[in-house]
Symmetry: C2
Subunit: 224 residues, 2 copies
DNA sequence: GTCTATATCATGATAGAC
DNA sequence: GTCTATCATGATATAGAC
């Protein structure tokens, strides 16, 4: 049937776009490249998505809807079990960042490709994608922010927000660096063989994030 | 004199490129945009730099030469004073990341504009710029890596390398987020007024980085 | 829904006068 | 060193046949 082919074409375009935007960025990826890789006609992008920008938004939307839904579901479940008591920081961090990294092991939801696209996009925010991401993320951010405030009542809220920001950055690089990207360094990771993959990255990253989140507060007065 | 004008033109192009590459990325910045902002002729870029790619490399080179020279100078000085004994992790982290952030307060060396360009470029590594950065960074990376290995003899080297990588990510986001960029979050930073700037960010970031660097090691056996 | 063909515009680079 | 003019290419987007 024609409609079945259409759905297929849409998915093929989204899959190809995800890979190519990840590898080349938005401006570095032409629609000819996308439609060529997807094996569809050049005009199909505009027919199905309207424009290149709308295509980019759809690439993010289909993954983020699932990811942020999962994050909210996990948080709901944890808060239900705790019965009103504050969660542990490690639970909250795992709910947000652990859910993200576990998504990378699930090819059905984009796997590592989408995660790397997300990590890279968070630092190259063209106006249109930044406002889009802000909207997509607002609910889940508010919920996790509130959970952290409750879990760490003695830490100033501004400090928590900054540290959440730092955690996002560390996670973003963790993702980018997993797939043989060493970025600035050409260091040899001694045990960087097939076993040293995402299942090891997650505990590594979690230790680092929690160490940073629970670090002693800075003494502003002592630092000029 | 003509030569004086030429030097001036070169600098004007570099300054404009730095700002525009930071704001729009490499592919998103046309040479017409650059020469227009610099107030020079379109043909001047190819005359002075040969190509757009060479221009990008020169934008990085003039700042990184200074930054990494400063990092090496600081490390030399610390190791000289210590007389062969291992440095403290906080000293090493400050030498690498503190030097970077202090550069942002120095407009003569690019200020926050270059720092944000650097942070964003580390996650969007087109082939040509990635190989260039790897070369520019190799010496300083080797030196700081060795210092950390010596300072933390009980921590596996692979773990130190990963944590350095995470620190780079956190710092990159710290920089991007300083200049009113909230990226994913539209959170209100309560005391985000004029005083809450780089001189507060540095101790904030240092606490986080050191907390992460010195966190308990992950237990791989316990995490499937 | 899919295709060909094309409109319209912006890009990086260069030739050659001054 | 600087300028104008231009080339060759590739971009997004669309019109219209099938």
């Amino acid at each position: 049937m024609l409609e079945v082919r259409a759905v297929d074409t849409r998915e093929r375009i989204l899959d190809a776009s995800e890979k190519l935007f990840m590898a080349n960025g938005f401006d570095g990826t032409s629609m000819r490249l996308i439609t060529g890789a997807a094996g569809v006609n050049l005009a199909a992008v505009n027919y199905h998505f309207g424009s290149k920008e709308s295509l980019m938004q759809e690439v993010f939307r289909r993954r983020l809807d699932w990811l942020n839904g999962e994050r909210l579901r996990v948080l709901d479940e944890m808060e239900r079990k705790s019965g009103g008591k504050p969660l542990k920081p490690s639970q909250i961090v795992d709910g947000f960042f652990g859910t993200l990294l576990r998504m990378a092991q699930d090819e059905a939801h984009g796997g590592i490709t989408f995660l790397r696209l997300l990590g890279r996009t968070l630092t190259e925010p063209s106006d249109f994608i930044r406002t889009f991401l802000a909207k997509e993320y607002s609910e889940v951010m508010e919920r996790y922010k509130a959970a952290l405030f409750k879990a760490l009542p003695d830490v100033p809220k501004a400090e928590i927000v900054w540290r959440f920001h730092f955690m996002l950055g560390a996670t973003s690089y963790a993702i980018a660096g997993t797939d043989a990207l060493r970025l600035v360094t050409d260091w040899q990771i001694e045990d960087a063989d097939a076993t040293d993959r995402l299942d090891r990255l997650l505990p590594r990253l979690m230790s680092f994030l929690l160490g940073g989140l629970r670090a002693p507060l800075p003494q502003f007065s002592a630092t000029a």
